[in-house]
Symmetry: C2
């Protein structure tokens, strides 16, 4: 066994033991610890900003892109925001506890309870607010967490986790409830992904590259999150104004996020009236969204629009780029979506209940919207109060994951000596 | 791509297309198909028995063990039993449909529905009744199924699946709802386990070897089932008669199954009064259960009892063998269990509410029993009406899996043009 694995196992053994404490911690204890940690973050604002400045200086030296530098930057307001998020999690209902229970004819009483999963690994990229967010959601749901942040935010993350841990200790919580892998060595990530028996679940939060690397290398259970090749389908009977508003919002309000759309599918019967309106609206909206069109789209909008390739339909642009395709039927739209999508969020705009039902049933995705923007696929927007990620898989969790999705179930059966 | 993979993809493409049909099939249609299949199995009893006779003759030639031959053998009564099970599944509630729904302040209506998972692969061993059971549970929950049975039951399985498919076709169901891999070539199993994009879930049903091979080779999602290294802990205040009854039942009523116990843990304060009673009861019970004891057990019961090794504590004997260990405390019992168990079912016998609570909370298992036999870990016994397996993992499903566990969730969101 290499020394990196040994170090990580030593860390994970503390996590397991902390998980044993957290499973019996009361809601009141957990909430008090969250509030103490929030206060401590605000009180230690200067310390955290000093460490954040080290990360920023190094990133600047290393030529990190400005957009990344912005995501990495903390200030007093952002730290207060992080603390406020922790307080908000403390006010959410505890997801653990009795789910349901029933008595069998032989008198056995079967209780099904939601329980913490145990030890959860979270692998994420630059933003240091994820450190506190992930810690508070895991803590509230009674899980010990092992955090693996990006190396660009290392000093900030170390500072945040130390401050949180001091607060937890002052509330009587043992070491290991919140841990951070403090070495930037990438080998730690791979070891974390194969820590069967110590880690119950790994959740990657980040770009496509991170998620597929985690999926490929993990032997512990993983929840796949995030990748979003989402579509808007405009049916033949769509309200053109509504379809245009939704298009503008779903494509341009924040193109870098997973619930933004990448491809517009338009029914042939409405294409020649809708596409010119949509194209003009995108132009007026001012972000210079570039269209890539199928032959019929180019016939309608003109050949200055570049042709869309097979490759384009597969791409999550995360940018002001939109592929456009005219389809002959709702069924063709569904077929296109099920071929290229990442099972995240899909939209139909239609006035027809039947079209909405057929589309929603047949499309293979976590969230299917009728007459609304896919930008609502989000734990807060769904009313879950918080979000640890958006699952694009079908097992355990699908769609926005809140506190409930960080729990498992366990059966507690009591009898008076029953045998079979 | 090899031709085995090509064949399997051709089969799985039919399954995917059938899954698209099944997701919209009504409960009435699915139930009618199950009843038609049950009738057809009874009507074609002679044909099935003829094919079963071929399997039996081959197994006899190949020197298959008598216990396996018994599990493989069909007769009219057993076929009627299989048909009756299908009728029973038709009477269970449909697990798909609305789960809950809520309206957000912005007017978005969010519906969470239980939906079929899609295409499920089931890999199992000799018993041909699993063929019909798995098919009916998948069909009722709206999933297409790809069956991979043991080669000893190949002719029986082919006959059963053909009869079921004729019945499904007569009810207007397309090809591919129920498929069987008809080649005994083992390469098919490995290809099935890596059919990402075609197969949504694989469930192995069988012994430890099968399950660990599936876990190791699969890239599609797997639900781990079955392995059961289960324990009975007799606390210091236990009712000795109750503890003895539960011991006899959990160890000897059917030692080959996963919910039988393998190790007895006894609190030091009750060991010298309980162990002689338990040992005598096991003798009188007549199966010649062999004890393997820790030093304290051997001090109490005598050195004719063989010493228990570390290896023994790790072993699922599936036989009339019982490891016995005296522990100093409930905490030591929990520690032993969490070190050696397979997260299946664990028992405490105690009169103390506090001891029950501490044990049940701390033990890491799907099912924890207080004062009852672990033999009740079973979908039927839990009241689920049927069972596809017992999950020993924490994600998606834990404990007995019924129809609900063969579904995922999907969000249906409807609006009036909402954007963010």
């Amino acid at each position: 066994m290499n020394s990196i694995r040994e170090n990580l196992i030593a860390l994970a053994e503390k996590s397991r033991s902390a998980a044993g404490f957290l499973v019996s911690a009361t809601t009141g204890m957990k909430d008090a610890a969250l509030l103490a940690a929030a206060d401590a973050l605000e009180k230690n604002c200067d310390l955290i900003l000093k460490e954040n400045a080290r990360d920023l200086a190094l990133s600047d030296e290393n030529g990190v892109r400005p957009a990344m530098i912005d995501r990495l930057t903390l200030n007093r307001t952002r730290i207060e925001g992080i603390a406020e998020s922790m307080r908000k999690v403390s006010r959410l209902p505890d997801p653990t506890g009795l789910s349901d229970g029933w008595t069998r004819p032989n008198g056995l009483y079967i209780e099904r309870r939601r329980v913490p999963i145990g030890v959860i690994g979270i692998i994420y990229e630059a933003r240091p607010n994820v450190t506190a967010d992930a810690a508070s959601l895991c803590l509230k749901s009674g899980n010990a967490v092992i955090l693996r942040g990006g190396k660009d935010a290392l000093y900030s993350n170390i500072a945040i986790v130390r401050v949180i841990n001091e607060a937890l200790a002052s509330c009587g919580f043992p070491d290991g409830c919140v841990s951070l892998i403090e070495s930037p060595d990438r080998a730690y990530t791979n070891e974390l992904l194969t820590l069967d028996g110590y880690v119950d679940l790994v959740i990657p939060r980040g770009g496509k590259g991170l998620i597929s690397a985690v999926k490929k290398n993990a032997t512990v259970p993983v929840i796949e999150t995030g990748a979003g090749n989402c579509h808007l389908y405009v049916h033949s009977d769509a309200n053109i104004e509504m379809a245009t508003n939704i298009l503008i919002n779903a494509k341009t309000q924040r193109p870098s996020v997973c619930n933004a759309i990448e491809t517009l599918l338009v029914h042939r019967d409405i294409a020649s009236s809708f596409l010119p309106v949509a194209s003009l609206a995108l132009k007026e909206e001012g972000h210079g969204t570039r269209l890539l069109g199928c032959p019929e789209t180019r016939r309608i909008l003109g050949n200055e629009i570049a042709p869309a390739t097979e490759e384009d339909y597969m791409t999550e642009f995360d940018d002001y780029i939109l592929a456009v395709k005219v389809v002959d039927s709702l069924e063709e739209a569904v077929e296109h979506i099920n071929r290229y999508n990442t099972h995240h969020s899909e939209i139909i705009v239609t006035d027809s209940i039947d079209a909405s039902r057929r589309f929603s049933t047949a499309v293979d995705a976590a969230c299917v919207y009728t007459n609304a923007s896919s930008r609502f696929t989000d734990g807060e927007e769904f009313g879950f109060g918080a979000e640890i990620g958006i699952s694009t898989q079908k097992l355990h969790a699908r769609g926005p994951m809140g506190l409930n999705e960080l729990t498992s179930i366990k059966y507690f059966i009591s009898g008076q000596g029953q045998v079979r």
